[in-house]
Subunit: 352 residues, 2 copies
């Protein structure tokens, strides 16, 4: 079989150009006579790889100089503990709970202090983004935590923390509005096994929660520039290639246009379909993860199976939601979305 | 340049066969139409990859059924915290300090309880393995911690914990003698960004150190079979290929013979050289990491530089020790060791 269109929510599709380069360099990176997988993390060629990756990411996102960029292991799940362990000076934080992962982050944070739910959309299975214009921010709160927002909440001067795993590098964002931004890279950026953390320098502290492991202190990694111990070197290398690819595409403004165009094709079809429908509040729809259902679990299963046979992979929805989910990240070409809609139309005709 | 002989201590040389396979499968793993980097960790093909990797590792090492095998992020450095957080029921452990990393592990463990130094070779810059035949084991000790041993210490019935990063899969070991074995994979097994942990089931506990992050509880990962969150999928895939390669080489008995033969070539030369000498106690010499010096820092630097020009890479010793270090892990072919010795002979003639 040739390459499929892979709608997996993560690990997810990567640009073919990046994979081709990685394959070509597998036995000899840039004349070094070895694979990046075999290269000492203290070597000059690797230092150049990690420095270039950081510089390109700073350039793409316009990261201000007073923010540190970290390449860390443990994925977003480890951040659920690192954030409260490192950031809660007064032992208090407010959380905005907009999905399963925000809920996990909230549960983990409760180990380390007094956590308030400032807003939640769990009442409707996270199908909308709660109104955050007049958030009941706790006076004592060290941070306000949430996942992607359409409109940034008014945090009344408290540092805002955001999990951007699902929308990382899919559009420009104003980094200076946040205290800390993090995301697992396995959705929109690179291979699983790494999180990127962007943290404002005044939030990097020595006096963290008692008993915080050295590896879970941001300061450890900031001081060592992500080389405190052997880093996830191959992931950094692939992410670096993706950053270069994004720059060749025209940067994040261009990606936003492309991503909006892709999402529009799918939502326009969904809005007029007599078989498929989207359960998400239209104004809160994600550009990256498009969920839809037929209304029948049997028909949903049939759709996923037949789509797979047609080379449209990993369309099954998350266990907690059911139905279908098409993740159409940066690396999903517009032709993949068109192929999906064409297949949905055919399926609709055959099964209505 | 073609492939060099890479003597890096880690990340380190991998079998060329493994890299060739990985390159070939980069855009389409086994007819899936996608790279392993792009594959959902909840998909059937990935489940097969991780299951096969675990089964092959169990087979290679003869891991008993009452031990769990975990593929975790964070490297050995994260284990320095996880071990005391999870294993110290009584808050006490004895440590055997035989190197820089054992010392780091000891410093980290002190955060979580009363840690005794049962033995140490720091007095002579870790150039020998302390006598562990009559170890002063604390009555209250939960575990005895150390790195690689030639003779296992008598732990008086306490669980023995060992960091085997440097000798992982280089020879057979009797897993049942240990409570927990762990190692970063980036030396002898696969790409950086993963540790393998082999833990006896009775040591997996719910009532860990207060405030232990969910991601740092062994139970989290045992219950989820290393799939609690997105795992370092590509590392698992490459390690799985290395396990298959090791089986094709004849398993760990055969690797031990090969590794002994390789080390002998180098030590035999060192023992008669008039320029180079080894500082390590002969009975405690490592089969994997061969350190040597000329006695002159300038000449050491000249050697490292000229060796590099001759395609013999990463021979510079660790910052804390100086001199030279040739790591000759499983994937270093015997021809690489012969080439190194030939170069050393030539250098000796030219510089004596």
């Amino acid at each position: 079989m040739g390459r499929v269109y892979n709608f997996s929510a993560g690990p997810a599709v990567l640009p073919e150009e990046v994979l081709n380069e990685a394959a070509q360099e597998m036995l000899d990176y840039n004349g070094s006579g070895m694979s990046v997988m075999e290269m000492s993390h203290r070597s000059k060629p690797f230092q150049e790889i990690i420095d270039t990756a950081e510089a390109d990411l700073r350039d793409l996102m316009g990261i201000p100089d007073d923010y540190a960029v970290l390449f860390l292991q443990g994925g977003a799940s480890q951040q659920f503990a690192m954030i409260p362990m490192n950031l809660m000076k007064n032992g208090t934080a407010d959380y905005i709970i907009t999905g399963q992962f925000a809920k996990k982050a909230y549960s983990e944070a409760k180990k380390y202090g007094k956590i308030n739910v400032a807003a939640s959309s769990e009442d409707k299975n996270f199908s909308y983004i709660p109104d955050c214009t007049a958030l009941p921010v706790s006076d004592a709160a060290d941070t306000i935590y949430g996942t992607k927002y359409k409109e940034l909440p008014d945090t009344k001067g408290k540092p805002l923390v955001a999990d951007v795993s699902s929308c990382f590098l899919s559009e420009p964002m104003n980094v200076s509005k946040y205290g800390l931004i993090y995301g697992g890279v396995q959705k929109n950026v690179g291979p699983a096994g790494m999180a990127i953390v962007i943290i404002r320098e005044d939030l990097i502290r020595e006096d963290v929660y008692p008993g915080t492991p050295t590896m879970l202190k941001y300061k450890t990694h900031v001081d060592a520039k992500s080389l405190y111990n052997t880093p996830p070197a191959y992931s950094i290398y692939i992410c670096g290639k993706v950053f270069k690819w994004l720059k060749r595409q025209g940067g994040l403004e261009a990606m936003k246009e492309r991503n909006e165009a892709k999402a529009k094709i799918l939502y326009d079809y969904l809005d007029q379909s007599r078989l498929f429908k989207s359960d998400v509040n239209p104004k809160d729809r994600s550009m990256m993860n498009v969920t839809f259902v037929t209304g029948s679990a049997d028909l949903d299963a049939k759709f996923v199976k037949e789509a797979k046979e047609a080379g449209l992979e990993s369309l099954k929805g998350h266990r907690s939601v059911g139905g279908m989910r098409a993740s159409i990240y940066n690396a999903m070409p517009i032709d993949g979305v068109k192929a999906l809609v064409a297949f949905m139309k055919k399926f609709e005709e055959e099964n209505l």
